[in-house]
């Protein structure tokens, strides 16, 4: 079934909160720390300006949401001693925000601000890659994936990382999404060491993301310092990367131009997730289980990301009743 991503009417919102929304669908990782979190609400679709809200228990949260039927609901990634004043910061989830509308290498025909199943699927591929790095190399636990309504949030609730500063989060993000060209200068006299020769560590990660980015470039992609001719050549020669033949790709493009391309690619990688969100210790993020009214989708905690399909699992009932 073809689902149209259009705004929910006030009536539909009312129906959703009255009949469908259940406080039990709010993830445990929020409920377990409910009293330490700040909540924020957007009642009229003008941004979350009702902030500094707190709830003592599930019942009160339920009553509030059922009564107000908010346009959008958020809760802090931060835990506070005193969330009502955002004081006494204890720790924050480590989050990655991949919004399908902001992916710099979309291959679909979406206009600015739009999303479709193609770019949503790309967002899913991206969060899967993010999860793999967090789990594998970084060894982090309790990684939650949430469908946000127009993309995905990765929310890490692992005490080993929750006290990390903004600065360190910046480093982590750059590592996880391959946003920095590896520094391969060395004192051993290897002048021509390439990241793709090294099958482990950050170089491997950078190579993996760069492959993804290059394979998703289109002739309209914008790369710093890369002109149309070079972009077309990259697209022409990139197929060998499917077999990881980086040496051949570099030779085809030319070593100096390859260097230019990789510098630009690392900057694109940087924009694959919204880094602002990841380094902000006091962000509020959409509360899973609630409605994204602009697109009529449910923000949903994902049980099995491999099989998750937003058009099956995150569509509120009222959408099916639309004529």
């Amino acid at each position: 079934m073809e689902i149209e991503l259009k705004p929910a009417s006030n009536y539909e919102r009312k129906i959703f909160y009255r009949e469908e929304w259940d406080v039990k669908d709010v993830p445990d990782f929020v409920m377990d720390s409910l009293t330490s979190r700040e909540f924020g609400f957007d009642h009229f679709g003008q941004g979350p300006n009702d902030r500094y809200k707190t709830f003592q228990d599930a019942l009160r949260l339920k009553r509030f949401i059922k009564a107000k039927q908010p346009f959008a609901s958020y809760c802090s990634v931060a835990y506070y001693d005193n969330p009502k004043q955002r004081k006494g910061w204890q720790k924050s989830e480590l989050v990655f925000d991949v919004d399908a509308k902001d992916i710099p290498i979309r291959t679909c025909d979406c206009k600015e601000g739009e999303v479709c199943d193609i770019c949503l699927n790309q967002a899913k591929e991206i969060v899967l890659m993010i999860r793999d790095v967090l789990k594998g190399e970084m060894g982090l636990k309790n990684i939650n994936m949430v469908y946000s309504g127009r993309g995905y949030h990765v929310r890490v609730i692992d005490d080993n990382v929750m006290e990390a500063s903004s600065e360190l989060r910046g480093q982590i993000v750059q590592y996880v999404i391959g946003a920095k060209q590896p520094d391969l200068t060395n004192s051993l006299g290897f002048t021509n060491l390439q990241h793709f020769i090294i099958p482990f560590g950050y170089s491997k990660n950078f190579t993996k993301w760069s492959k993804y980015t290059i394979l998703h470039l289109t002739k309209d992609s914008k790369l710093d310092n890369v002109n149309k001719k070079l972009l077309n050549d990259v697209i022409k020669h990139r197929d060998v990367l499917k077999d990881d033949l980086w040496g051949a790709f570099r030779a085809d493009v030319g070593p100096r131009r390859f260097e230019k391309v990789m510098a630009a690619v690392s900057r694109i990688n940087m924009n694959i997730t919204d880094t602002k969100v990841s380094i902000d210790l006091k962000r509020i993020l959409r509360l899973p289980s609630t409605l994204h009214s602009k697109v009529s989708m449910k923000s949903t905690l994902i049980k099995n990301i491999e099989t998750f399909d937003p058009f099956d699992d995150a569509v509120p009932n009222f959408v099916f009743e639309r004529k």
Binding site: N160, E167, G170, Q171
Partner: protein
């Protein structure tokens, strides 16, 4: 034979030395065996015997002076050659602690002086590690292993245990080899972890290129910096409860201050001049700023503080000072260091102007959103780091000022056009045009005045 305290002042034997040699009353007494070591250091410049340290306190000051003046000339360097004679290790360790205590008691852990002591220690140890490179790789590797294992277990350490070291920003997480959160630091672990992946290449070389001595050194330097910082904090806390600080430490602190002032006047002695070519830095002409920028500089009182300061003001304030002609240049992809190589203007004028505006917002922007400092650095092209450093330049892009159209769309409250806004499409163009007009005006007025 090089002893570990020479490289790591926090090793166990270093602590033993301090309790043995660190008696307060000996610190400013003439120390003959120290002087013997100094005088017998190979390559030591002995021309000014009175500048050579005779006491442990003198040695502490000498360490600091080396750091301040080492770059001024070749001979200066040879003046402190004894600092790189491994035999000095015992006195060196004691003087290191002295230095830390003096700045902790007099200036506190957040002072500029404390930061300089951290930098100084890092430089000295780096230099010593550099000299160590003359030794065979095996020796270096096992020496570092020994030095590190006084602080951590190099076979079993997780990156999450090193958060504070990473926070210092000297060692980046992407330089570490990680497997399930654990650092792969020693060769045997490297082979166990990645041996199967390496074909047709020498594994030892692969190890040295991607980890090896280089990363061990960096990690050691990072740990020493962290421990030094924590030590200074501890001493400071204790000193608050102390009745009478030791006079020797206070004297040393005064000497430090004096040396530092001397270094500063050497550095800023020559005043810079600016010229008026527009793809080079030019001084601000605040009267030529467009209404939107002025409004933003007064601080944002309602919502939208972040975007106004980070996305709008930061590019404008940086380009208008460093390269106002950016839009008429062929090559628009420039870095700040292309026009401000030392970052002096950036750090002393641009950042303060942005921070002032941020401070004037209500509530002050950094009060609840300190991470915006990082975002500002990132928009200036220096990556996602809280400290603005040349090393990180290029990780992000130096954002150009956004067009009036975009401003009207995203931050409508900022745009209150004046008549001069009619002919332009970007606040920076407004600025350039207005400056030209003002100059003309000025000349006309002068002609009029002189014409009479």
């Amino acid at each position: 034979m090089i002893k570990t305290p020479y490289i790591n002042p926090f090793s166990n034997d270093a602590k033993e030395i301090v309790s043995r040699l660190g008696q307060v009353d000996t610190l400013d007494k003439r120390n003959d065996s120290l002087m013997v070591i100094v005088n017998h250091t190979r390559g030591q410049n002995l021309n000014d015997p009175h500048t050579l340290p005779e006491t442990l306190k003198g040695l502490a000051l000498a360490r600091f002076e080396w750091f301040l003046f080492r770059k001024t000339s070749e001979t200066q360097e040879k003046k402190y050659e004894y600092l790189f004679n491994p035999e000095i290790y015992e006195y060196d360790v004691v003087s290191f602690y002295l230095l830390c205590q003096a700045v902790a008691i007099k200036f506190g852990p957040d002072s500029h002086e404390a930061k300089m002591v951290l930098d100084c220690e890092e430089e000295i140890i780096s230099q010593r590690l550099e000299i160590l490179k003359a030794e065979p790789n095996d020796f270096q590797s096992s020496f570092l292993r020994k030095a590190l294992n006084q602080l951590i277990d190099t076979n079993n350490i997780y990156w999450t245990d090193l958060k504070e070291v990473l926070d210092l920003g000297k060692l980046d997480i992407n330089e570490l080899l990680l497997s399930n959160g654990r650092l792969v630091l020693e060769y045997e672990d490297f082979i166990a972890e990645y041996g199967d992946l390496i074909h047709n290449r020498d594994p030892r070389t692969m190890y040295e290129v991607t980890a090896g001595v280089r990363i061990k050194s960096k990690l050691l330097l990072g740990l020493i910096r962290l421990y030094t910082k924590q030590y200074i904090e501890t001493v400071y806390e204790m000193s608050k409860r102390m009745v009478e600080p030791n006079q020797i430490l206070l004297d040393l602190a005064d000497d430090i201050k004096e040396a530092q002032q001397k270094a500063q006047s050497l550095k800023y002695g020559v005043a810079g001049s600016s010229n008026y070519i527009d793809d080079k830095p030019i001084n601000y002409e605040l009267e030529a700023f467009p209404p939107c920028v002025r409004k933003c500089m007064d601080g944002i009182k309602s919502g939208g503080r972040n975007d106004a300061i980070v996305l709008f003001l930061t590019p404008f304030v940086s380009y208008s000072r460093l390269c106002p002609g950016i839009f008429s240049r062929q090559e628009q992809n420039i870095k700040i260091s292309d026009v401000d190589p030392s970052l002096d203007i950036t750090l002393n004028e641009i950042i303060p102007m942005i921070y002032d505006a941020a401070e004037s917002c209500s509530p002050p922007l950094f009060k609840d959103q300190p991470q915006e400092k990082i975002n500002i650095n990132s928009k200036l092209g220096f990556g996602l780091h809280s400290e603005l450093k040349l090393d990180n330049e290029g990780e992000t892009h130096w954002y150009t000022p956004m067009s009036c159209e975009k401003i009207k769309l995203h931050m409508p409250h900022l745009c209150t056009p004046s008549i001069d806004c009619k002919k332009i499409g970007n606040p920076l163009t407004f600025y350039n045009r207005k400056r030209r007009l003002m100059k003309k005006d000025n000349e006309n007025r002068q002609v009029e005045e002189n014409g009479d």
